[in-house]
């Protein structure tokens, strides 16, 4: 039996929709079987909450009197540099930007207490942000300096935009060297002292729709506490990654570019984070609903942590040197048990992705759908799939020859 998105939306409008999260669906399918469960369940909700570099925001501050063009000058938000190379009053800032006077890793490991992710959190929280800008004057934009407080409420548009979010799967990081390393996956202790992972596993959006059969461009979703959309596939989208028999990629694989109205979002789901010795980032909450159009799609959503595998990568050698070597593979069930085994070694695990928050997101999205406030969308175009052959290429390094005279 199959359903259309329009039929599911009619059920949402009439309050008769049956919606469960990607954890609950596992037992339902186990007990009632695929066929019966597929006829009963209309929507499965997913969720993820983790640091996601590549996230950012843009906004329009409105024109000052007299006018200033920020576009070719320098603009700072709470001392963090922003990008203005679009137009006079459009400002963009990414999660990992740092104040110019931040000491970085001069005293290693650096703290990175405040960066672009924290500016985004503060702005979304409704706090005033200092915008300081300098530019050159023109006949139509004479002003050369601007020092003002801005607030999200008074901005013309404020938009979340990410180049890449929602990695379908992710590396587990370990360290075989003799010293502690400080990475974007956290602090990794020497001699395989710990293993860091970052995925919601069985709750994670793209692990529940491994071939992107329902998730595509235009898909409406939970983004940062508000409503967002998939605008494109994300950068480093790599759907040709190796997969297990159930279709689930065993490596990073797909990514999504997301956008949404920042004014609807809140700081519980957009959280500035500091990675010691590495930099600043933004914790982002995303939840994607999966319409259960048929048994096949339901079966994908019933995936469990036991059946999702990922690569264990040495972040002291292979990762920094961009080598393809992996030390082994492990399942999310093993990772969540608190220890993984690598050869004869037992390694304690820790997560950067909050499963508890991911579950909370999947439940909020469930409530939105069950209460009729959130309708599902069919993709207006697919994202490149496993058959596309698309994968992430390394940089083709071509040394520049210069005549230094």
């Amino acid at each position: 039996m199959s359903k259309t998105i329009e039929e599911i939306n009619s059920k949402i409008r009439s309050g008769k929709v049956v919606v469960v999260n990607a954890e609950e669906v596992i037992d339902i399918v186990r007990h009632r079987g695929l066929s019966q469960a597929a006829s009963e369940i209309d929507v499965v909700t997913t969720g993820t909450f983790a640091p996601m570099c590549s996230s950012g925001i843009y906004f329009n501050i409105g024109h000052s009197k007299p006018r200033i063009k920020l576009e070719a000058g320098k603009t700072y938000l709470n001392d963090v540099p922003a990008y203005t190379g679009f137009a006079a009053t459009d400002v963009m800032i990414g999660a990992t930007a740092l104040p110019e006077d931040d000491p970085r890793n001069k005293i290693h490991p650096g703290d990175f207490n405040y960066g672009g992710g924290h500016v985004i959190e503060d702005l979304v929280s409704g706090k005033d942000i200092t915008l300081s800008a300098t530019s050159y004057g023109t006949d139509c934009y004479p002003r050369k300096k601007l020092d003002t407080l801005i607030n999200i409420q008074s901005l013309n548009e404020a938009v979340f935009f990410s180049l890449r979010n929602c990695y379908q799967n992710y590396n587990v990081a370990v360290n075989t060297s003799d010293k502690t390393i400080y990475t974007y996956l956290g602090i990794i202790k020497p001699r395989l002292g710990n293993a860091m992972y970052c995925s919601a596993g069985q709750l994670s959006p793209l692990l529940n729709d491994p071939y992107y059969k329902t998730i595509g461009i235009g898909t409406r979703l939970f983004l940062g506490g508000g409503t967002g959309y998939i605008s494109w596939h994300g950068t480093q989208h790599s759907p040709s990654a190796p997969r297990t028999d159930n279709g689930v990629p065993k490596r990073g694989a797909a990514t999504l570019s997301l956008t949404g109205d920042l004014k609807q979002m809140n700081a519980r789901w957009l959280r500035g984070v500091s990675m010691q010795g590495y930099g600043a980032s933004l914790g982002v909450g995303v939840g994607i609903p999966i319409p259960i159009l048929n048994e096949e799609i339901l079966e994908y959503t019933a995936i469990t942590d036991e059946d999702i595998f990922t690569a264990v990568v040495d972040y002291s050698t292979a990762f920094p040197n961009n080598l393809p070597d992996i030390l082994g593979e492990t399942s999310y069930a093993q990772l969540k048990s608190g220890t993984i085994r690598l050869g004869s070694k037992s390694i304690p695990t820790a997560s950067l992705s909050s499963y508890r928050r991911a579950l909370e997101i999947s439940n909020i999205l469930k409530d939105w759908i069950a209460s009729g406030n959130f309708l599902l969308t069919a993709p207006v175009a697919p994202i490149p799939g496993a058959e596309s052959g698309q994968s992430t290429r390394p940089l083709n390094y071509r040394p520049v020859e210069r005549n230094n005279c």
């Binding site: 602090i187 202790k189 959280r271 990675m275 820790a350 997560s351 992705s353």
Partner: protein, 136 residues
Amino acid sequence: MKVSRKIVLHFPARLVEEPIAYRLVKDYNLQFNILKASIIPDSEGFVVLELSGSQEDYDRGIRFLAKTGVKIEALSQNVVRNEDKCTHCGACLTICPTGAFEVDPITREVLFVHDRCIACANCIKACPPRAMELHF
């Protein structure tokens, strides 16, 4: 009655090479667990100890320490979790040397078991949303 207390001992330079902890064990039947230490020969040093034993032995041991010239303070450093900031990711789990963080296997909530905390402060900067705070 058995007591167990966390204390900070400051050693003046002249005592740094004295086997003071040994005396606590041998003469006063006290158990100690070194939580943190920084002792450089010919210079000052400090040790954070958890000292346990009977109340009587404990009091005698402390009197002995005071007599040697060691300055004794109660451990006042305290690590607390800001519940508004914690996102329950679990990055702290493998950083804590005493296992003061645990994940509830059902809810996946990250629990902070304060009794196990020795206030080493390793978690402060390992916490991405900076939810762990050091209070004095």
